[in-house]
């Protein structure tokens, strides 16, 4: 992808973030900036802390040290005060600024595709029923599912469910979209339709932070790729550099080597 966006201050700034689950140190001081309109993809071996980092960005996980800011506002903790958790209303307001798409879709099974999208629009964004419905239809059309608006998630294929998941997240007009291994639970033949939607959002200039095992997709869609292993950022560069045969990071080279052995890159 060309035309790397430039912004004076990054939209998302992660600085020195640390996180432990019990005695397991999952994040060991992560620094990462994402500029407005930038698509950044995190790759790396399982258990390297990728998903945990993503979940910290909208405070689905707390972080023990460091800071995460979106548009200058600290996520999860109140500005100025040292690690004082935001109030519930405050947190909800912050989270509405970040959209998230999940590995297991997490659609609301009791609501139709359209209702999955309108719930946040009416309750959080305060839109009227009709306006929210129009917006839901707009996004369902955009992901190619206009004819499925009235269907329950259980009546949709995995790929269709995930496209509704994406529509639900972007309809909220978040500042940044977080994609957490969104194709990992899909049958291979359904992956393409989901990734196509992501590519079209990237073309629109949507800021995205992506965790994926689809290395080929990472290469095609990202402005920048971050290689994470054992809770640290091992390498961070544009795709061309990451995939360069002269890549100095040995762990990254062996990680990519294992992938190109398994998939045709």
């Amino acid at each position: 992808m060309s035309g790397k966006p430039t912004g004076a201050t990054p939209l998302l700034r992660i600085k020195g973030v640390q996180k432990s689950f019990g005695s397991t140190h999952v994040l060991r001081g992560i620094d990462l900036d994402v500029a407005r309109g930038e698509v950044v993809t995190i790759i790396g071996p399982s258990g390297g802390g990728k998903t945990t980092l993503l979940r910290c960005v909208n405070f689905l996980e707390t972080y023990d040290r460091g800071s995460i800011t979106i548009d200058g506002a600290e996520v999860g903790y109140r500005d100025g005060e040292a690690r004082k958790r935001r109030t519930e209303t405050d947190l909800a307001r912050m989270r509405a600024e970040t959209g998230m798409v999940f590995q297991l879709f997490n659609l609301f099974p009791h609501l139709t595709a359209a209702q999955n999208i309108t719930l946040g629009l009416t309750r959080v964004r305060g839109l009227g029923r009709a306006e929210a419905g129009d917006k839901a239809m707009h996004w369902l059309k955009r992901v190619g599912l206009a004819d499925k608006a009235g269907h329950l998630p259980s009546e949709l294929s995995g790929g269709q469910q995930q496209r509704v998941g994406i529509a639900r997240a972007v309809a909220m007009e978040p500042k940044i979209l977080l994609l957490d291994e969104i194709t990992s639970a899909l049958d291979p033949e359904l992956i393409g339709e989901v990734l196509d939607v992501v590519l079209s959002l990237a073309a629109d200039g949507m800021t995205m932070l992506i965790v994926t095992h689809e290395i080929g997709f990472a290469r095609d869609a990202s402005h920048r790729i971050v290689f994470m292993a054992e809770g640290t950022v091992g390498a961070e560069a544009p795709p061309a550099e990451i995939f360069s045969p002269n890549q100095p990071n040995e762990r990254l080279r062996s990680f990519l080597g294992r992938f190109s052995a398994a998939h045709r890159l």
């Binding site: 979940r55 909208n58 689905l60 519930e88 209303t89 947190l91 909800a92 307001r93 989270r95 509405a96 600024e97 970040t98 959209g99 998230m100 999940f102 297991l104 997490n106 659609l107 609301f108 099974p109 009791h110 719930l119 946040g120 309750r123 959080v124 329950l152 259980s154 639900r168 997240a169 909220m172």
Partner: protein, 216 residues
């Protein structure tokens, strides 16, 4: 035999109404309080969770009859004097609350964790996550045990005749005392309890069907 039953009906009607009244009050109050405490047990801070856990474990470990006697005969020693009707309702309600707490906990925990994550990620605050995402899905798991519990409440209410509350069983015993026809009257009493509970379980099946469209 039919004569005896026909003779007894006018004497049993007030008792039947008391049985229904006690069951209704017990179920209504225990559902409201039990749901609130059940939510507290799942989402509360640890002191609250511990308190609710302790209450539920203790109450569920005590036979309901012991609980009724404790409320009626025990509490007066602490200066709380309740008439037998109030004591009966209080005892049954406390017992039922502990059950409802567990139904609620089980129902909420049956909803996949990702549902809460998704609800958070679109910016819903806690009470709206509960109302629009968790509750509709948990309801499906809550209804079957709860409806079972309603029939339990009707059956369990027969124990309050032991506190001298004039319920259906108490009425039957009074008529038996006059007519010395236990077989016919207890059979009839059993039939009335059965009819009441069977109607409830038919209603519960219809309700369960109503919510069966929700699948994960």
């Amino acid at each position: 035999m039919l004569d005896q039953v026909l003779y007894a009906i006018p004497f049993l009607l007030p008792g039947l109404l008391v049985t229904i009244e006690v069951s209704l009050i017990t179920v209504a109050i225990s559902t409201v309080i039990g749901v609130a405490l059940g939510v507290g047990l799942v989402y509360g801070q640890w002191p609250l969770r511990w308190a609710i856990r302790g209450f539920s474990d203790i109450i569920r470990g005590i036979p309901i009859l012991v609980l009724l006697f404790f409320v009626y005969y025990g509490l007066p020693l602490t200066g709380i004097n309740l008439n037998n009707f109030a004591a009966a309702v209080l005892g049954l309600t406390i017992f039922k609350i502990a059950q409802v707490i567990e139904y609620v906990r089980g129902a909420i925990e049956s909803v996949p964790r990702g549902q809460m994550d998704a609800a958070k990620s679109i910016g819903l605050p806690f009470h709206e996550r509960l109302a629009y995402v968790i509750a509709p899905q948990a309801l499906r798991r809550f209804l079957p045990p709860w409806l079972n519990g309603v029939t339990d409440a009707v059956k369990g209410s027969a124990l309050i005749s032991l506190l001298g509350v004039g319920d259906l069983l108490f009425g039957i015993q009074k008529v038996v005392g006059r007519t010395y026809e236990p077989l016919a009257l207890y059979c009839f009493g059993a039939l009335v309890y059965f009819a009441l509970n069977y109607a409830l379980s038919l209603a519960s099946r219809a309700l369960e069907r109503r919510f069966s469209y929700i699948r994960e």
